[in-house]
Subunit: 323 residues, 2 copies
């Protein structure tokens, strides 16, 4: 089995430098990193979590900043990340940010002070400046920040799929319910691609945005109800989450609109909620398990991090009873 | 403001002993602890998280072992615990145990090696022997282990409330769906008190247990369906979780049984899912926020831990559309 000294010899650097590259510590030129990565590839040298801990001070803890653990999508994602982290001998520290930038910054400081070994950024409150030029294992979710690898579902593909399904089902008057389209989130591509595809078919969707706090459900019902009052002929809706779809389903039930007879409904995520709803929700499935596995690999394996910057996962249309 | 030296003087011990009592470290006689607690009470001395960290090595991390983060109740509970932990300057480390005793034991070892400062046991896989005589801040949830303080909702009250509601609604043939009644869990008191109250009214409930893995939803539907085949006259059901109620609702929808006309349904927990269901679920509400706050107090404040061993929280019947 190749050792760190073999890597150093082939790369023409010291073992200490190899260790710094592996652990992403201190200033390292792109050229030095490249030489070390090539030597590692050549020798098929793969430092694992346990091996790394032998020559570096590791906490054995990964951190995740997410908007709200109570949101089913993030509970699923965190649950799977914890599963894969555990398989690599890491524990998971949770920051339920609720858009609290101070709290998020404290988590970044944990990374700077070596109290955690890697960080998943699945919330988007902190200013990009807090991260830029940080030489630490960071993975972002549904957002691109500087040089960090990012993970997301193929939001473009999801928006197109949802549009094509509604069109093929004969929907002529279509609504779209989403978060805040002003934010710089990859997930907003679901909306842009849905809208574009609809327009290409001569349909101008009615768009309802939940505003800044997409995780405050209390106003969903009053936000959605006017759509049906102002446009009683709406017969197809795509929402950017399954929870939003659950609220559409509830409003329709209140108003006596029958799903799927009067209205076709498609959600996004495929959290368990989509099968707990009546009728069960047709949705665009994000492969949460696979995304979580990649996130943990990116944080714990320097070679994965080097080779995969954009980690975009295929989505799938799951047909259930609302379409 | 009183200092640790004042407490030591009044208790007739050294400041080091006071520190050990506060941090629950090393062997301490019950008599010594009592003297220190009394002196702290007398002086109204309250060591907070920050003050404690000045004279003891603290990680600033609390741990929670729970069965499954993907279960809405535990996602809620963990979300609230994270919130209150943060208010006391603690972070939250999550162990999604999935009945994996080895994984749970690793978390107990973190406590023994001072890598976490306190532990919530909300899963029940590990043998009691792993905990007995541990002199560390541990709080159990829905289970009693030795001397540790425990937190639960008033499961007895919840079972009685559910029974009385179904009886007052005129239900004569009643079903009850729960976990595994052989396990030594406080939550099983929901079932025992429900059954007892029903019997006192001359009704013998039909009981369906999910078996050992209450968190594996995949078999719920086939478990519940025979209840209606074998007992088509069932007109009232109490489930020990809102998720179980969601599956009852789905099965009834499949079978053309109308809720609440043909069947009254009451759940337990009051997670957001209960308002996402159609019809919205009547349920017994556990005060999750208050329970989470107490859990954090018990782990971070030695006086709370001293004064409250049994922490049983009132439940409330929430009337919605299924009853």
């Amino acid at each position: 089995m190749p050792t760190i000294k073999d890597v150093a010899r082939i790369a023409g650097v010291t073992p200490t430098t190899v260790s710094r590259v592996i652990n992403n510590r201190g200033y390292l030129s792109q050229n030095t990193k490249q030489k070390v990565y090539q030597a590692m590839d050549q020798l098929n040298y793969s430092p694992n979590a346990i091996a790394r801990s032998l020559f570096s001070k590791k906490s054995g803890i990964l951190g995740i900043i997410l908007p709200d653990l109570r949101h089913p999508f993030f509970a699923e994602l965190a649950g799977y990340i914890e599963f894969y982290a555990n398989q690599s001998n890491y524990k998971l520290l949770i920051c339920n940010s609720n858009h609290n930038a101070t709290k998020e910054k404290q988590f970044v400081d944990l990374l700077k002070s070596n109290q955690i070994d890697g960080l998943v950024m699945a919330s988007h409150t902190l200013d990009v400046d807090e991260f830029a030029r940080l030489e630490y294992p960071i993975v972002t979710f549904d957002r691109i920040i500087d040089q960090f690898p990012y993970v997301c579902s193929d939001n473009h593909q999801g928006g197109v799929l949802a549009a094509e399904k509604l069109i093929s089902l004969g929907c002529k008057k279509v609504g779209h319910i989403c978060g805040n389209l002003q934010l710089d989130l990859l997930s907003n591509q679901r909306s842009w691609s849905f809208i574009k595809t609809m327009k290409e078919h001569g349909i101008e969707p009615i768009i309802i945005q939940t505003g800044n706090d997409v995780f405050d459900y209390s106003h969903y019902e009053e936000l959605i109800t006017p759509l049906f009052r102002d446009h009683p002929d709406v017969n197809g809706i795509f929402t950017t989450s399954d929870i939003l779809a659950a609220y559409v389903s509830r409003v329709c039930n209140n108003l006596g609109i029958h799903i799927p007879k009067d209205l076709k409904l498609i959600g996004y995520d495929d959290v368990p909620l989509s099968t707990w709803m009546i009728p069960q929700l047709s949705t665009i499935r994000q492969p949460m398990r696979e995304m979580a596995e990649r996130i943990v690999q990116l944080l714990t394996n320097v070679q994965t991090r080097q080779h995969y910057n954009a980690n975009i996962f295929d989505v799938e249309f799951i047909k259930r009873a609302t379409s």
